[in-house]
Amino acid sequence: MKIKDGFILRDVAGKKIALPMDDDLDLNMMITLNETGAFLWEMLKEDRTEDALVDALLKEYDVDEPTARKSVGRFLDLLKENGLIDG
């Protein structure tokens, strides 16, 4: 899986926001990410499996495996709901 082409993630007004690089902006396509979300987003710039994402979280943050898996699962759901992910 990876993030669909054409999206950008940036720090704006103190938030991490992701939006499509489209001059005809649909604000519904903008999402705000927390730190974990932003980390996973960066990872998903390359094609990754769900397990790889969980492993990366475990390495980067002091969390246990079930928590990491839950975070990843929720984040992937968010991306799928907003049509932001390929694969």
């Binding site: 054409g6 950008i8 704006v12 007004a13 690089m21 001059d23 902006l25 903008m30």
Partner: protein, 240 residues
């Protein structure tokens, strides 16, 4: 070809257009200075603008559409100069700029007109529709432009921008501050965005810098004179 140079938002652009009416439209902004950039408009650009125009119809002339193409192309070029095109009506009071933004038809122009009626000579109308906002290390500056609304209200000048205010109609006049975070969707929707992906990092950087420098407000107002007083006091903390 119609050739002329414009000085807008402190930058000089040489324009290659098709219609003399475009030069006339920009009369207050013509310049003899050395241009830093070139803007060429061809008939394909005009055809594309016709497609984009929401009010597209037989009765919009190519000549008018060319003024919109110029606005678009100039705005895209000015983004590289840390300048954004903003949709709103901006008035200066005692040398400070207050920009009102809202969906078309809400009453931005009516509200800034009330400011002029209440505050008279203390005000200067900067631009009634599409001012430019430039961000530099000294702050945020708002400039007039040729695109100044149907009543052609504006001045070829610039002032420091103090605040951006979202305007809504209401029975009572009430203003409150908004955080940059809450104002962000408005900043994104009321500015012209890059027309290609490579422009987005710069665009978002400008939005971020703007959000850090300026105060944001939400005003609910009617069309009474009091509306201007409430708005002014709310944004400056001063009595009239």
């Amino acid at each position: 070809m119609v050739e002329f140079s414009l000085c807008i938002a402190g930058r000089v652009a040489k324009v290659f257009a098709n219609f003399e009416t475009t030069r006339k439209y920009c009369a207050e902004y013509l310049s003899d200075e050395q241009p830093e950039m070139r803007i060429c408009i061809d008939l394909d650009d005009i055809a594309l603008e016709r497609k984009r125009s929401a009010k597209a119809g037989e009765d919009i002339s190519d000549a008018y559409l060319e003024t919109l193409v110029l606005q678009r192309k100039l705005s895209q070029a000015l983004m590289e100069c840390d300048t954004l095109l903003f949709h709103g009506s901006v008035i200066a009071l005692d040398g400070e700029g207050f920009l009102f933004t809202a969906k078309s038809g809400t009453g931005k122009s009516t509200h800034t007109r009330i400011w002029r009626e209440v505050f008279h000579d203390r005000t200067v109308m900067i631009n009634d529709d599409k001012p430019f906002i430039r961000i530099d290390k000294n702050g945020v500056w708002v400039y007039g432009s040729p695109w100044n609304g149907k009543h052609r209200l504006g001045t070829n000048t610039f002032v420091k921008l103090k605040a951006i205010c979202l305007l809504e109609r209401g029975e009572e006049n009430k203003i409150n501050p908004l955080s940059a975070k809450d104002f962000l969707p408005i900043l994104l929707s009321q500015t012209l965005r890059p027309d290609n992906r490579s422009g987005f990092p710069k665009y978002l950087e400008l939005i971020d810098r703007l959000s850090a420098e300026i105060e944001f407000y939400h005003l609910k107002c009617n069309m009474e004179r009091e509306a201007a007083v409430v708005a002014y006091e709310g944004m400056t903390g001063k009595g009239r």
